[in-house]
Amino acid sequence: MRFRTGRTARPRLLAGIAAITMLVAGGVALAGDDGENDPLEPMNRYFFELNKFFDTILLKPVATWYDGVVPEPGRDGVRNFLDNLRSPVILANDLLQGEWDRAGTTASRFGVNTTVGVLGLFDPASNWGMKQHSEDFGQTLATWGTGEGPYLFLPVLGPAPPRDLTGFVVDSAFDPLTYIYWDRPKTVPVTRFVVNGVDQRARSLKTFDQIERTSIDFYATVRNLYRQSRASEIANGQYNFDTLPDINDLTFDTNEPNTPGMRP
């Protein structure tokens, strides 16, 4: 009995953390706001450095090893399997967003890849015109009009502003695995989380190094890349030209002869 409470407490704990951070972050955001909406920046930077440290001593070496030892078909199989396992979550969010076509694609992909694709190790559905896409409850909230909220960077999770952190918690409620392993040892869910992280890291070894090298402030760059990539995911890769900044009259001496609004 004792053990049971211990295990079931975890999702609740996560939900609790999400609720608290939303309150805290929300409260601080009201207090003061700069251009970046990052009121907890000192704390976020601390966790960022912490994650970077653990990346350097643990995740990156493991990912580098994985990348070197496991041949590419093997890694692709792992990726496909994990992606397929996520299908129920993607499907739930497709439906909640009213994306019926994409929901159909997700369901068909799951059927095809689980059977023809040998339990999801292969991705034949992609070759049959059913391309993979990702959805999560953070994106669903965004399509319902919820703002991202103040930026938040957490240990292990990484960038997790309130909307997306909430999405992370709700997504685990959409995931059948959560219930299958509700009061059993968490070996499988934990292994999945770890392997997923290692595989993702292995796929971005070079990229992350390069982004760090090409940035004069890695934390600020990651913050912006996170926001831009989220915005792009939410819009399913589309953007509206009209919403881009107005740069027509932008020069270093706009004040001088060509003041905006005074164009000939």
Binding site: P159, K206, I216, R223, L225, S229, P245
Partner: protein
């Protein structure tokens, strides 16, 4: 993890493309495609690929080729002004002069010269869309030999005087100049509005690129 991981997946090919596309800048230089944005991007791509795939060139020569291309095909002044965001009016004329030359060096040395491996990728121009009379967005894809899915690249062009110039590039959903603006203003803001802090950071990064060059990246493959 999913949050963080998905971001990584999205930006994975980012730097490569940044480098390639910046390379493309230079490439388009002599393009006299004054009125056709698609032809302009096409010409930039051809020139950039020529620079990247020239195995005989020394790193120094490649750098200079990129610099020429950048000067000819990108609207560097507009990019540099945009990247300052709300701090556009804060630098003194001396600071501004140094900033402009640092930005060019930053792009050439930190981004572009990282691009060392060219594996027959092709840039396919897909469509163009106008915004008013002077701006256009050209959509394109980088296609890889072998099964890898293509990467989308959008080009935001601005007509200035004689023809189009590149203002910003969007790689898999991320605008590079917007990222620079966010990072640059963050550096200035975090040092209490001190513009010199930005210059220092730029100098330091360029310096690192010159000294460290490809170490660390070369190790990976």
């Amino acid at each position: 993890m999913p949050r963080h991981a998905s971001m990584r997946a999205v930006i994975a090919p980012l730097v490569f493309c940044a480098a390639l596309t910046l390379g493309l800048f230079h490439a388009a230089a002599p393009a006299r495609a004054n009125d056709d944005p698609k032809a302009f991007v096409d010409a930039v791509a051809v020139r950039a690929i020529a620079i990247i795939s020239d195995d005989a060139a020394t790193p120094k020569q490649r750098e200079e080729a990129f610099r020429d291309l950048l000067r000819e095909t990108a609207d560097l002044d507009r990019v540099a002004a945009f990247a300052l965001g709300q701090y556009l009016r804060t630098p003194t004329p001396e600071q501004l002069a140094e900033y402009r030359s640092l930005v060019e060096n930053f792009i050439v040395k930190v981004y572009v010269t990282r691009l060392t491996d060219y594996n027959n990728e092709k840039l396919e121009v897909l469509s163009a869309q106008m915004r008013g009379d002077t701006q256009a967005i050209v959509k394109s894809e980088i296609r890889f030999p072998g099964g890898r899915p293509p990467v989308t690249v959008d080009w935001w062009l601005v007509k200035s005087g004689d023809g189009y110039r590149i203002f910003d590039i969007n790689v898999v959903g991320i605008w590079l100049a917007q990222e620079q603006r966010s990072t640059f203003s963050s550096v200035i803001r975090n040092s209490g509005g001190n513009f010199d802090a930005l210059l220092e950071h730029l100098r330091a990064q360029i310096d690192k690129a010159e000294k460290g060059d490809l170490s660390g990246i070369a190790k990976l493959d």
